[in-house]
Symmetry: C2
């Protein structure tokens, strides 16, 4: 297939970009999952929203596929055909699915995208196994790809960060709301960068590396993805408190009742206006009053300002890339979409 | 340091080999674990028997270290200094530790080497996380090693097999004792090769690859390790039924009460002499009578004969390697030791 002529018109919508990349990656992702043990493959397919328990086809909405899109756009930003980024896209989607499976076990989350989470549907042991299988498959996919060694190094560094971020997130729960041991916004940023940003950065960087990009572009895309991840997590935090449960699929005030140390909460806890906040948090607290107090203390505005600042850095990094076939425009469109989602 | 002169005397004892390789690998393994998140590093160190819960030093016996020894000997069999195999040794020990952590969760095993297993000591969620971290660290270690790309391919293939074998093992539990759906000895062999053999084969093959061995030697060592793994699992099965609990650390008849479909049981189930066996298995069964019936039906003798046959193939594969500095002799000594342990 010959390359399309460079786009001079407005870039496609973010949803169009996500759809295009999903369609490009899906056959390879399905082929990889099909190589798994049949039982494990069913759990993987269930987690992707491709089937129900038992294997019947499902039309459940899968994830947005942001990571696979970043990998494809990363390759395109390097001037290559987007298909060069497919092994990277498959690997990062597999790693993302692995991390959701295991995180749901660790966090005790019984639902994911409006369906029972994998451990709830299949049992904890099988869900641990399915996560491990997805993890192994991701590494195998990338190790077999052309230009593999550097790729595996990028992926394994992201994996190490992912686990580090999840460890910090789990430990934050046990930290006090006040005093020198409380979680600082700086610690929160590091956690979010590791837990969410590392894989987004890896997706774009890996795609670029497989597309033949040089070191500076690979590094710039990795950094952009990391900033995007922090912004993504901040927006998630805001939606977890003030989002429409119809849209987010999460119960109103759920994060507050769980006493999660999200950025708006951490920000508010640093303000004298919110000295009664700790008493309103947790399962015995009053989530609605807590949300109002956090908003009053500036927690919501601070989180959104911080998210915008991180997106701005990501935007600058992407704008600095050598122009290639409209990929930067689509990357920027994706950033805007993720920043604005349902706020 | 200059290489030692080729050994002409009898090879060291298997325990001497294990000790030598453990001492060689330990600093690099400790350094790798030290790069983990401190909380995760403690769980990893606990699982290696290096510390107690809370981090106080422990003198708990760690594992035998068979995998790290195979990696070092693999490098030496390629004519290299054993230190060339260290990244392989570190990677396979990390993968082994990861698989023990997650398998104990899946199997609900509350003790491991006479101590609470990691999920029992730290909780299921943290144990899932620690396993993931060890897995990621293994890949990272190998990706950073010289000659990494082929190495990562070998490791990820072994990981895929490992997960496949564990899936089969979990599913065997739900299969009936009789009829066309029962587990066949052939299925058992495939499960054992995947679950236990793949990583042993990978250890030796990876060490050899890092030592600069050619494709035939790498393949021969991989195959030898796979046969060794099947033999290892068969001997484990025998010890799980007739072993001295003082030595094995497992309760008498535990495997029979759990209704595990081990090779001696599967063999006996195929014999008309043991038609009453199914009723004696499981938590409500009579383990002592079951053990006697399995022995009578030839299950013990068949398992040991099968183990010897697999070890013989492994021995032949190793004997066919080009001679290099005594490594083959030490590999053979290790095989004998593993075949004869505590029987």
């Amino acid at each position: 297939m010959s390359a399309l002529p460079p786009a001079v018109q407005a870039p496609p919508s973010a949803l169009g970009t996500l759809d295009r990349c999903r369609a490009l990656v899906r056959p390879a992702l399905a082929e990889a999952v099909g190589r798994l043990h049949p039982w494990v493959a069913e759990m993987a397919a269930y987690s992707f929203g491709w089937c129900e328990v038992g294997g019947a086809p499902a039309a459940a909405p899968g994830g947005k596929g942001v990571r696979q899109a970043l990998a494809v756009l990363g390759a395109e930003a390097a001037g290559a055909d987007g298909r060069a980024g497919i092994p990277a896209a498959v690997a990062v989607e597999l790693v993302h699915a692995f991390s959701l499976l295991h995180d749901d076990i660790m966090d005790g989350d019984a639902t994911r995208r409006r369906r029972p989470s994998v451990w709830k549907a299949y049992g904890t042991g099988p869900a641990v196994l399915a996560g491990d299988a997805l993890f192994a498959l991701a590494v195998e996919t990338l190790a077999a790809a052309p230009g593999g060694p550097g790729g595996v190094r990028l992926l394994s560094a992201a994996l190490a960060d992912l686990v580090r971020g999840q460890a910090d997130d789990l430990l934050f729960a046990a930290r006090p709301c006040a005093g020198p041991e409380r979680v600082t916004p700086g610690e929160y940023r590091a956690m979010a960068e590791h837990k969410t940003g590392a894989l987004l950065g890896c997706a774009a960087a890996l795609g670029a590396a497989l597309g033949g990009a040089g070191e500076p572009a690979v590094t710039a895309l990795d950094r952009a993805g990391r900033h995007l991840g922090v912004a993504f997590q901040l927006v998630d935090d805001v939606l977890g408190i003030w989002g429409d449960p119809e849209v987010t699929g999460k119960p109103v005030g759920g994060d507050l009742r769980e006493g999660k140390k999200t950025f708006p909460v951490l920000f508010a806890l640093g303000s004298p206006a919110a000295r009664h906040l700790p008493a309103l948090l947790g399962p015995a607290g009053r989530a609605e009053e807590a949300a109002a107090l956090i908003e009053e203390a500036g927690g919501r505005a601070a989180a959104l300002a911080e998210a915008r600042a991180h997106t701005a850095v990501a935007r600058e990094l992407i704008s600095g890339l050598p122009p290639a076939a409209g990929a930067a425009g689509e990357l920027l469109g994706l950033l805007d979409h993720l920043e604005d989602r349902d706020l």
